[in-house]
Symmetry: D2
Subunit: 332 residues, 4 copies
Amino acid sequence: MHKNPSSKMNVAVVGGSGYSGLELQRLLNKHPHVASVTAFNSQTTANMKVSDYQVVFLATPAEVSMELVPAILKEGSKVIDLSGAFRLSQGDVLENYKTWYAMDHKAQNFLLEAHYGLVPWNNAKKEVSLIANPGCYATAVLMGLLPLLSLGLIDEKSIVIDAKSGATGAGKKASESMLFCEVEGECLPYKIGEHQHLPEIQQYAQSLGGQEIDPFFATSLLNTRRGIIAGIYANLNPQKNAQDVANAFKEFYAHYPLVEVAEEITREMVSLKAVVGTAKTRIAYKIVGTKIYLYSSIDNLLKGAASQAVENFNLMNQFPITTVLDHLETMV
Amino acid sequence: MHKNPSSKMNVAVVGGSGYSGLELQRLLNKHPHVASVTAFNSQTTANMKVSDYQVVFLATPAEVSMELVPAILKEGSKVIDLSGAFRLSQGDVLENYKTWYAMDHKAQNFLLEAHYGLVPWNNAKKEVSLIANPGCYATAVLMGLLPLLSLGLIDEKSIVIDAKSGATGAGKKASESMLFCEVEGECLPYKIGEHQHLPEIQQYAQSLGGQEIDPFFATSLLNTRRGIIAGIYANLNPQKNAQDVANAFKEFYAHYPLVEVAEEITREMVSLKAVVGTAKTRIAYKIVGTKIYLYSSIDNLLKGAASQAVENFNLMNQFPITTVLDHLETMV
Amino acid sequence: MHKNPSSKMNVAVVGGSGYSGLELQRLLNKHPHVASVTAFNSQTTANMKVSDYQVVFLATPAEVSMELVPAILKEGSKVIDLSGAFRLSQGDVLENYKTWYAMDHKAQNFLLEAHYGLVPWNNAKKEVSLIANPGCYATAVLMGLLPLLSLGLIDEKSIVIDAKSGATGAGKKASESMLFCEVEGECLPYKIGEHQHLPEIQQYAQSLGGQEIDPFFATSLLNTRRGIIAGIYANLNPQKNAQDVANAFKEFYAHYPLVEVAEEITREMVSLKAVVGTAKTRIAYKIVGTKIYLYSSIDNLLKGAASQAVENFNLMNQFPITTVLDHLETMV
Amino acid sequence: MHKNPSSKMNVAVVGGSGYSGLELQRLLNKHPHVASVTAFNSQTTANMKVSDYQVVFLATPAEVSMELVPAILKEGSKVIDLSGAFRLSQGDVLENYKTWYAMDHKAQNFLLEAHYGLVPWNNAKKEVSLIANPGCYATAVLMGLLPLLSLGLIDEKSIVIDAKSGATGAGKKASESMLFCEVEGECLPYKIGEHQHLPEIQQYAQSLGGQEIDPFFATSLLNTRRGIIAGIYANLNPQKNAQDVANAFKEFYAHYPLVEVAEEITREMVSLKAVVGTAKTRIAYKIVGTKIYLYSSIDNLLKGAASQAVENFNLMNQFPITTVLDHLETMV
């Protein structure tokens, strides 16, 4: 089979049996510009004829993505990679990957070529061929933090992030620590100060928000399936106030339909159930004196993975950004 | 070290890192007649000097118990086996183990020697050296069913059992199907009509209750950690009534302190939280016309495993049956 | 405002803030033939100008439905009532409502007029003006039971039903017994043998399945939000076998797209997560000797309430039965 | 009845049907120096003959405690109050109670008399007659924070607290917002920056730790029954290091058996299940550069309420501090 001559595209999803991969297929199968979605897993990628697919989505571990990306790009197909393999490109990247991902980077030539697809902060152009889809925690955090950093509203030395994630974030691989009986009843801090999304947040706080930051970054595992809620705490800079904050969010998100911002913290605005199943980011904040308490919530498998990958697919192909995503909705 | 000359005993727990093994150690460590509890796992049993322990508790898979029991008995120590390895002794036992446990029995000579330790229905005497501690579902079911069967109160052809268990029943081994995200939100029927506790229930319904039965037996996995609730449904025999049922439970459990029976189904009496953490069995029933609806609840890790093993240990050593068990209590 | 002259309809939902009412609005808001959805609650129905709405959905308690139905029908609008108010029409209905619903029926004249909307067993015709939308448990049970009863495949005296429901079934009203801390960790039998869906199941087993039955009917509350799984246990009649059962389901559901039937019990086919969020019924069964173990699963808020109401709305208006329902899907 | 002449005491628990009250009775019923425990609720306190009880425990709302305390003290009995009624005694207390508890204080004369019973930081002497038992969040936070503040190890301007609590913290009162279906699947921030335990933390940081602080204080509701885990984030002061921190915890907790401190964050040390059911505080921390990430975990109903009340009872009566508490243990 050759590339589809019509406007509809053939795409592949590698790692299609994981939680993100399943959600990705669910979205792509309904996409009006997608003709077919073919799923592969690590055992079957050898059978994938890359040139059949205009775009290959990788919902694979970072080490698998590193191996597959060079081969796929060489065949002329585009890649949207949901792993962390191509997100860190500043500083000593080899050292970075060893430190944060505990592995040697096998495809470092492609790091600078990769486009970090944080939508709407870094929208991909048509000519982009490799997209590093942002990490789930990094997405939730940056969506809340970048407006504040970009306009210098907060003391960048005061930032503390305490983010909690549903257990699908850990993937579907059998492990004793993720058994039902080990997770139920818990709210478990893990990888404290050493989560691989910390350098990702730092790199893009700088490149997209213009600020070097070195925040506290604490991550906890919730006994729920889906959803991330990131608490972001910081001090406002002198002379900055609630109006500046409100304006910042209005300015940056005026034309982005997949975000909702509230100037107060209501239950509805910080409910995980209210973002789970949707492609949205919800941000709610409260200012007490000079302190800002901000919560940014997403579905870790959608805006934190699959739906943001589709946003990138849409941008890359100049489809409206919310194509197939605007019908998503939450359930009671 | 030789056997403890004092009244305090040295015991071993093999399989001490599993859920039942941990609970067992917790109880034995507080037992007033236990001097020491030594835990072994499958990697370390080679180091176990059997003769050091008056009693060895096996909280191991059936195949491991089959291997260990002959060696331990040979050394003169007693065994309380929490696995299913020595519970089925009627009929073609080799065939039975192949059918229900999917394995060849490697120690069939010991099957008839094993004492099935369902307390208070089959209390072990001092001279017993091998106790087959009953299965969790079988315990919950038989505790509710035997009084009815023993006095011929119900139509033995009409029995339907729908039993639900917390996820600790599946053990602590890593598996994809027991991941938090796979169990949460579910109530999953499994091994329908083919659970290995069915022949166990049948054998002891006959030998302890005097009735051959061939019940429906459905088992489901709950998204909770601990507790079994077995729904038992049957038709009363002609001329049998509520008073007969009440009398049956009074008669059989008059001298057994670890059971509570209610002649109505109240929330308190069918709450899993109200048995979890205790050594008790709770039975509540309701008769509508000729139908009896009966619920029998236990903590699957205690009466369904560790605390019944301690009851057997107490009986075997002529300690009061509730030693170390009567202080157990539930939490709000 | 007068009735919409175009093909699009204006509808009202009374009781729109409850769980079923919210789901119903979510579906109707996307319905291609619905122009507007107006929500009312018990405080605001006085403001409802009934004649503005071609159809009024009542997601109200039975006592409220009894009061509203006569007034709405008098105004010429049609009603789809999700409560139990108009489901029992056989025998001494006044007595029935007192026994099962603990209330006097205030609109008994409408009981015979009401059409019991179990789809696809009793599809509404265009001229129907009052639909009694079936109860959640009754739907799950009848969908599994009717094919067996209709063809005389099972011994009608042997039927035992053990059905479990997520907690949304109890509604959104504040109560101590439904607090998170009271439900979590439980699988709570309630209304044993006296649930109001029992006479509903009996009436329609007879009128739609041609059999008088008097089954065991046990209901339990699960510590999960959504989904019902009904275990149905019965003996096959002599000479009836697996093939007969398979044929029965094929025959009755050949043209109904919203059901899936499996001749074996796989995890996927009995997973609540796999029906939650969809309008589907999933049926899986296994025959062991002469025993049939059957599981019927639905989303209690959808096929058990809102989506079946939409099926009835579609039938009543001669829209394709799956309109707005076929896009519903489950999430990992 | 007059006061018990023997060494055993008669005590009363008011508010005995709430979660804390039930746990408190469970502990007191086993207390070797307690002769009898009599429970009252708000409807039955009129029947309480105060002089019959050497100590009255109040597990009541603050407004009820304010009413009962003067009367009880007048009768010569001692009070251990688990509410917040007598915890804030600095500054404009009337204003404080209006701001944080939304009520007028009706017994302000007793505020200075009340002893804040944070054990082991402020152990009650024999002559104390009114103990304000600390709040659950305040206890978890102060146990982790006071060693650091007392020795000036952290920058008091940098403190951020993100604390999460199980749902029993909200009590047993019926409310829509605490229904199972509203809490399940969530991790809900609430009372952000305005929780009444914030001024409590501030007052005792100063009086017991010698530092004025104005921390970020965020509280979230977990979808679990029991347990609090407080994340405490701060910058170390210049020249302070890991050794200083380790020494601080060793110094302050050397003689207190109900705390465990780890110099690394392991899963075991931050597991809620590992503190639930016990009277212990668990503290684990990690230092990354100059940042300290510290987690302090307790059972909100025990160390956060009932068991700390028993510690105070023990101190007040010069019993060993862990009387009846050292046998508490966790379950798998």
